[in-house]
Symmetry: C2
Subunit: 300 residues, 2 copies
C-alpha cells in the first residue's frame, strides 16, 4: 500500500461522487414538489456531503468487470438511498438519538420526527422504484438486484436486523461474536451487496461473483472496524458527527470488546484478507485494492 494507490481511490471517489450526486439530483423529487417538507427533508439528508462509499464501490466493481457506467449508475443511487434512509431512521430519538450527522443537524432536528420518519420511508420506496424502472437493465437482472437489495435492507440477514441487534445489545455486555454478527448485518450486508450488484450487472462468472462477495464482506468489516476506531480516536470536526458516542451509549464496537491496540491489529489483518480475495479475479483490480487501502488509512 502506497500513498499513490490511496490517491487513486481518493480521485475515483471524488469523481464518482460528482456523477452520483448529479444522478441523485435527477432521481429525487424537487423540494418545490408536494409534499414539500418531506422532499426538503430527503434532500437535506441525501445532499449532506456523504462519501457515497456504497455506490462508488458498486461502480468500481462494475467497471473492473467492464460494465458501462449507465448500467451501474441507477442501482448505485438506489444503494445510497437505502443507506441514507437508514441514517435518518437510526438518528431518531427513539433509536440512537443523534443530533449531528455529516457535520450538520440530523433530519428530525432540522425538520421534525414525523417528517424524518416519512422521508426515510419515501426514500426506501424510491430506492426500489429506481431499480424497477431502470430500462438500461434487462428485467431478469433488475429483479435479481431488487431481491438482493431488499434482503440486504431488511431482516433477518440485513440492515434492519443489524440495527435491532445493536439497540438490543446496548443494555448489556456483548461478546466478540455478537459484535461481528451485528456489524455484518448493520453495515456489512449493504456494502457487500453493493459489490455483488456491480458484479451481477457486469455479468461476472459464478467464481468471480463469489470472490467479489468475499472481497465485499471483508471490505465491509474493514469499513466498520475503522469506523469504530475513529469514533474513539477522532474529533467531531474530522468525523462530522459526535465522537465517543458509541462508548457513551454502550454500543457494541470492536474497541470496546478488544481494546484499541488489538483493534488496530485486526484492521491490518482484515485489510490483508480483503486484498487477497482480489487475487482470485483475473480482471484489473488495482482500483478495488486502492479502495481497501483508502478505507485502511481513512481519517473520517
Amino acid at each position: 500500500m502506497t500513498a499513490t494507490v490511496s490517491d487513486q481511490a481518493q480521485q475515483f471517489l471524488a469523481s464518482c461522487r460528482t456523477t452520483i450526486d448529479a444522478e441523485l439530483e435527477r432521481l429525487i423529487p424537487q423540494t418545490a414538489e408536494s409534499p414539500e417538507r418531506v422532499h426538503a427533508a430527503i434532500r437535506w439528508s441525501v445532499f449532506a456531503g456523504g462519501k457515497r462509499f456504497r455506490p462508488a464501490l458498486l461502480i468500481a466493481v462494475g467497471q473492473a468487470f467492464a460494465a458501462p457506467l449507465d448500467h451501474l449508475l441507477r442501482t448505485a443511487c438506489a444503494f445510497e438511498m437505502i443507506h441514507t434512509y437508514s441514517l435518518i431512521h437510526d438518528d431518531l430519538p427513539s433509536m440512537d438519538d443523534d443530533d449531528l450527522r455529516r457535520g450538520r443537524a440530523t433530519c428530525h432536528v432540522q425538520f421534525d420526527e414525523a417528517t424524518a420518519i416519512l422521508a426515510g420511508d419515501a426514500l426506501q420506496a424510491l430506492a426500489f422504484q429506481t431499480i424497477a424502472e431502470d430500462e438500461n437493465l434487462p428485467p431478469e437482472l433488475r429483479v435479481q438486484l431488487l431481491a438482493e437489495l431488499a434482503r440486504a435492507s431488511g431482516t433477518p440477514e440485513g440492515m434492519v436486523a443489524g440495527q435491532a441487534l445493536d439497540l438490543e445489545a446496548e443494555s448489556r455486555e456483548v461478546t466478540s461474536s455478537e459484535v461481528s454478527r451485528i456489524h455484518s448485518r448493520k453495515t456489512g450486508a449493504l456494502i457487500y451487496t453493493a459489490a455483488r450488484a456491480g458484479a451481477l450487472i457486469s455479468g461476472a462468472s459464478e467464481p468471480e461473483l463469489l470472490a467479489i462477495t468475499a472481497f465485499g464482506i471483508n471490505l465491509g468489516l474493514l469499513f466498520q472496524i475503522t469506523d469504530d476506531l475513529l469514533d474513539v480516536t477522532a474529533t467531531a470536526d474530522e468525523l462530522g458527527k459526535t465522537p465517543g458516542k458509541d462508548a457513551r451509549s454502550k454500543k457494541a464496537t470492536f474497541p470496546s470488546v478488544y481494546g484499541i491496540e488489538a483493534t488496530r491489529q485486526t484492521i491490518q489483518a482484515v485489510h490483508r484478507t480483503t486484498c487477497a480475495e482480489l487475487q482470485k479475479i483475473s480482471r484489473p483490480t488495482q482500483l478495488l485494492e486502492s479502495i481497501a487501502d483508502f478505507i485502511l488509512n481513512r481519517e473520517a
Copy 2:
C-alpha cells in the same frame, strides 16, 4: 344492491383472508428467528385481524380476469405488508399517536417506538422482496408490479405523500379539494394500484386496465369516505380503534368539510360511479360489484 350480493363479497373476503393469512404466515420470518423482537412486532401487527381488503381486491380483480390464484397471492401479500407497515408508522407518537388499532395495542405501545419503526422498515423491504422473488411471474411483470407498488407507496403521488399532507393539514382548515388530494394519496393510491396489479398479472387489455384503474380509484374513494363517516358514527367496539379521533385531531375528512348528510349522499354517488366503471369490462364482474356494495354498507 341486495343482501345476497353483499353476502357474496363477505364470503369471498372471509375465504380470501384465510388464504392470505396462510401465505403471510409463510412469507414473514418466525418470531423465534433473530431479531426476535422485530419479528414479534411485525407479526403482532400483521396478524392483528385486518380485513385484508387490498390483497382481496387484487385477487378479486385477478380472478375476474381468470388469473390463477398462485399468480396473484404473493403480490397480494406484498400489498398487505405495505399497508401494515404504514399503519405501524402512522400510529407512532410523532405521527397520529394512536394506542389502539384493530382492537388491540398499537405496535409501539405493545413493544416500543424503535422496534415499531424497525418493524415497519423491515416490512416495507419484505414487500418488495416478495414480488422480486415471485417465480410464478415473469421478470418483466415483476418489475412493472414493483414499480407501481413503489410509486403507490412513496412520494409524490403515493401513500407517504398522503400521510405527510394529512399531518400538515391538521394545523389548519382544509378545502374539499385538499381532502380529496390527501385521500387519493393516503389510501387511494394503494387501493387502486392493488386493483391494477390484479389486472396486470392477468394480462388485461389496455382498455380493461383503464376501466379497472377507474374502478379502483372510485372504490378507494368509497372506502375512505365510509371510513371517515364510521369514525364519526361508529363505536370503538365496532371499529377496533378509537372513534372520533379524526375530529379531535382535526384530521381532514369528508364529514368535517361537507357535514354528515352530504357525506352520505357523496357515498351513494361514488358507489354508483364505481359500479358504472365495471360496465366497461366484458368479464364476470359480479364479485367486484359485490365488493363495492360491501364497502357501501360496511359497519367497521
